[in-house]
C-alpha cells in the first residue's frame, strides 16, 4: 500500500461521515418514493453517485418512467466526463485498468487528489474513495430502514448537507487566488442556465469557464 493511498484513506474519512448523512437521506427518500430497502441499498452500491441517485429515484417515484429517470441521473453525472478527462493523463496501465481507476472518481476524491498544476495523485484518489464508499452504502442501509418512520428529511435540514459538502471542497481550491475569478464565473454560468436546461447540464456547461486557462 503506497504512502499516498494511505494519505487518501485518512483524507477520505471526514467526507465519509458526511456521505453517511447524505446517503441516509437518500435511503429515506428512496423508500418513501416506493423503492424497497434492498433496491435502495443495491443502487448505492452499484451507482455510488449521490446527485444522480436522488434525481433518478425522485423521477421514477413520481411515475416518470425508466428512460427519463436514467437520463436525468446520467445528466447529473455529466460532470464526471470533465473530471475523467482531467484525471486521465495521471492514471496508469492499459485501457481496462484506466477504466477501472476512473470508477473511483467521486467529487471529494477527485478534488483532494488535485495537485493544482493539472495533474492528479491517483493513489490518493483511490484511497480517499474507499472510506467514502463504505460510508455511502452503510448510510443508505440506515436510511432505508428508517424510511417509513423518518418523515421528510428536509424537515430535519438534511438537504443542506449536499451544498456544504461541495463548499468545503471548494474552499480548499479558493486558497489559490487564481482560482477565485474563474470559480465565480462558473457559478454565474450555472445559475443562469438553471431555468433553461435539465438539472445537471448547468454544472457541465459551467466547466467551459475553465477555458480562460488557455489565455494564461
Amino acid at each position: 500500500m503506497s504512502e499516498s493511498f494511505r494519505r487518501g484513506l485518512r483524507a477520505g474519512v471526514p467526507f465519509s461521515f458526511v456521505g453517511f448523512l447524505l446517503a441516509m437521506s437518500f435511503g429515506v427518500l428512496a423508500v418513501q418514493a416506493g423503492f424497497s430497502a434492498l433496491q435502495a441499498i443495491v443502487m448505492s452500491a452499484v451507482v455510488h453517485a449521490g446527485s444522480a441517485q436522488f434525481a433518478a429515484t425522485a423521477i421514477l417515484g413520481a411515475g416518470g418512467g425508466v428512460v427519463p429517470s436514467v437520463l436525468a441521473g446520467s445528466l447529473m453525472n455529466a460532470r464526471f466526463l470533465a473530471m475523467g478527462i482531467a484525471v486521465a493523463p495521471s492514471l496508469g496501465g492499459g485501457p481496462g485498468r484506466r477504466a477501472l481507476q476512473g470508477q473511483t472518481v467521486v467529487d471529494p476524491s477527485w478534488a483532494l487528489a488535485n495537485n493544482g498544476d493539472g495533474s492528479f495523485d491517483r493513489h490518493l484518489m483511490m484511497g480517499a474513495t474507499v472510506p467514502q464508499y463504505a460510508g455511502w452504502v452503510s448510510g443508505t442501509v440506515a436510511g432505508a430502514f428508517l424510511g417509513d418512520v423518518a418523515g421528510d428529511p428536509g424537515r430535519f435540514g438534511l438537504d443542506v448537507v449536499f451544498p456544504v459538502f461541495f463548499l468545503a471542497l471548494l474552499a480548499a481550491e479558493l486558497r489559490d487566488p487564481r482560482s477565485r475569478g474563474v470559480a465565480l464565473a462558473g457559478a454565474l454560468i450555472a445559475l443562469a442556465l438553471v431555468p433553461f436546461t435539465p438539472p445537471g447540464v448547468p454544472v457541465l456547461v459551467a466547466g467551459t469557464a475553465a477555458l480562460v486557462g488557455l489565455a494564461r
Binding site: H48, L60, I85, G102, L167, E173, V212
Partner: protein
C-alpha cells in the same frame, strides 16, 4: 421491476461516463495549455455544484432556509472548523429555521 431496470441502467451509464475520459485520453501527455485548463476545472465545477445545489430545485431558482444554513457553514469553513461540526451546525440552523417559519 422497473426500479431494478432503472438501477441497472443507471449503474451502466455511470460506469461508462466515468470510463470515457480515462479510456479516450489514455496516458497521453497533454499539452501545457490543456493542463492549465484542467487545473481550473476543480474550482469551476465545485462552485457550480455549490450554487446549483443551494439555489435550485429542478429548473427553478429558489432561496429557502437551506441557503441560511449554507451561509453559516461558509463562515465556519472560512474559520477552518472541522467538517463534521460545520455540517451538523448547518443542519441545525436549517431545521430550526424551517421549524420557526
Amino acid at each position: 421491476m422497473t426500479a431494478w431496470l432503472m438501477i441497472g441502467a443507471l449503474a451502466v451509464t455511470t460506469a461508462l461516463i466515468k470510463a470515457f475520459g480515462p479510456v479516450l485520453v489514455g496516458g497521453r501527455v497533454l499539452p501545457p495549455t490543456a493542463m492549465k485548463v484542467i487545473a481550473l476545472l476543480p474550482p469551476v465545477l465545485l462552485a457550480a455544484l455549490v450554487v446549483t445545489s443551494t439555489l435550485s430545485e429542478g429548473q427553478r431558482l429558489h432561496v429557502d432556509a437551506s441557503a441560511a444554513g449554507v451561509a453559516v457553514a461558509a463562515v465556519m469553513i472560512w474559520r477552518r472548523l472541522p467538517l463534521l461540526v460545520v455540517v451538523l451546525t448547518a443542519i441545525a440552523v436549517t431545521a430550526a429555521l424551517r421549524a420557526l417559519t
